[in-house]
Symmetry: C2
Subunit: 366 residues, 2 copies
Amino acid sequence: MKITATKENLLLGVSAVQKAVSTKTTLQILTCIKLEVQKDKLYFSATDLEIGIQCHVPIEVMEEGATVVPAKYFFEIVRKLPDSLITLETVNENELVIKYENSQLNFKTLPADDFPELPDIDSEYELTITAAELKQMIRQIVFACSTDERRPLFTGVLCEVENDNFRMISTDTHRLALKQGKIETKAAKLLSFIIPAKILSELARLVQNDEEICYINISKNLATFLLDNILVVCRLLEGQFPNYRQVVPTQYNLKIKTKTKLLSEAVERISLFSADNNTNTVKMKIEGSLLTIFSQSELGQGYEQIEIKSDGEPVEIALNYRYLLDVFKVIDDEFLTIEFTGSLSPGIIRPLDNDNFLYLILPVRS
Amino acid sequence: MKITATKENLLLGVSAVQKAVSTKTTLQILTCIKLEVQKDKLYFSATDLEIGIQCHVPIEVMEEGATVVPAKYFFEIVRKLPDSLITLETVNENELVIKYENSQLNFKTLPADDFPELPDIDSEYELTITAAELKQMIRQIVFACSTDERRPLFTGVLCEVENDNFRMISTDTHRLALKQGKIETKAAKLLSFIIPAKILSELARLVQNDEEICYINISKNLATFLLDNILVVCRLLEGQFPNYRQVVPTQYNLKIKTKTKLLSEAVERISLFSADNNTNTVKMKIEGSLLTIFSQSELGQGYEQIEIKSDGEPVEIALNYRYLLDVFKVIDDEFLTIEFTGSLSPGIIRPLDNDNFLYLILPVRS
């Protein structure tokens, strides 16, 4: 292969695929990136066999071909290149020569044929969604997943497609987030699948333009996501996700409405006394239009009081402050509501006047 | 004590003293901050017995007094306070009550009398320097100090005062930096002392306003630095600093002039091949008006060529690229010069037309 490219485009390609590069493997080739020239494009590919990412950028081609370079060092050098035209050329079977200005770097390479192929997707794309919608869904969902690899199912996000509705559900068994989005093209059939949360996070990061469309394809055990110039392939998680419909209460004894920011800042301050008390617990007490947040530890104790709108019976409940702060970060609405049934029942947090998101949080028994 | 203060002023005080708080001690009180109200000011003090920092901020006083609070948690809570007026009041001998809006936090405290006093400085301030000048000197010097605590002398900066000249010298025995500054008021006598580099770094960070004046006092084993509202006290390092005058060559066989940024970027790229070769070495070859930077490792090899102005005999020399990049970061001038005597002799780097700074770097024997 022999091409010229801008630094900007090389950097775009090499950055896009980094997260698919294996960092814990004994197979050297999985720590590498494959570069492949086809027509007027350079394709960057990386895979750790769990996830594969491919990104293509425009270049000027003198000669087609392919090679494999060490991901870490190639990324570092591309970042440091000057903003000028860069020539890449393979020589001597196992070298890539990078030329710019009065300079030349020769990199040792591996044979392109040894690089694992990304799986072919044979079926049609089954649904499409705007990148903006997908990003927002992912942001409001992935934080509630578990990171405990011993229970892999909960490190994934349950996705359900029904007509033009796209639902994502995540839970670590202490809390649950549910987000309802709209897809652009209807799915032919009801779909249900589980995607690893870290792959969704990476997908959200790869979106360069909120206007682009994401094409999603689901086969028996693979999902692919196609953006303008990026393809992400990953394995689905297998298993039976708990029935979230049974968990979410349909009634409540008390509903309060408050400013998201006020509540978030109050919990953040009071939680200082919770971080030291091992249980990560803050207590909330609601009586009439007064919400009191309280905590104590060896350091001392503190309370904050917020004026709220409320409707229902008084309640006192102990909650994990981390689970509260997590959800406050992803609610962009000025106001939120919380529904309570009692001290030992879950609370349901929703943005005000917005049915597309809900967050269930279990109380701490004290 | 009972006072009201703005969040901004509390944060200023508590941030200023953090670096003097002990992080590795069994003495609980050294992990704390002393708060003391005198006249219309709140004094924050912290010390780990090596360094002491005191900062005062304006407040409204209802009652004088003093108390001692845990540094880490007090800092965290102050950072999170709302931008409103905050009341601090000591109650029950061992509690500090923080009130704001509809909220109240009670912190456990320790007795103020148990807090170690910062040492009294009895003599007059011996020299003054503008904060801007001091900051710039520190920036160009501390990076060349050693961080190896087994040789504590080289973790310090040698300071020499002679008339209105203030020199700082640092070395880790592989390279040496020398900076010449101007003081505002002449010293009565020739002074020579060694200050721990980390204390100078902290001092530079504490300067809030380049226009302020720093008053420096040196006693037998202590140095104090007084800024507008901040006092820093530290122990001097003891020992015989090597005679730097003997080390710096007075002649050279080759002198080159080049753009700082060009050379810096070239070394940064080529060093990619050095980071992997264990020796951190790049080779420089100068012939006529061409400077070639070269390196190789298992990854491959690379060179860059830069047009330079040069005067003298050709040279080829191996240098530690980290020591080069370090100094390029603190040279703000567009051009720099390097003087060489041979492959086995030190190189001397200076900003062009600026005698106030020099940097000596020993070659790597290969």
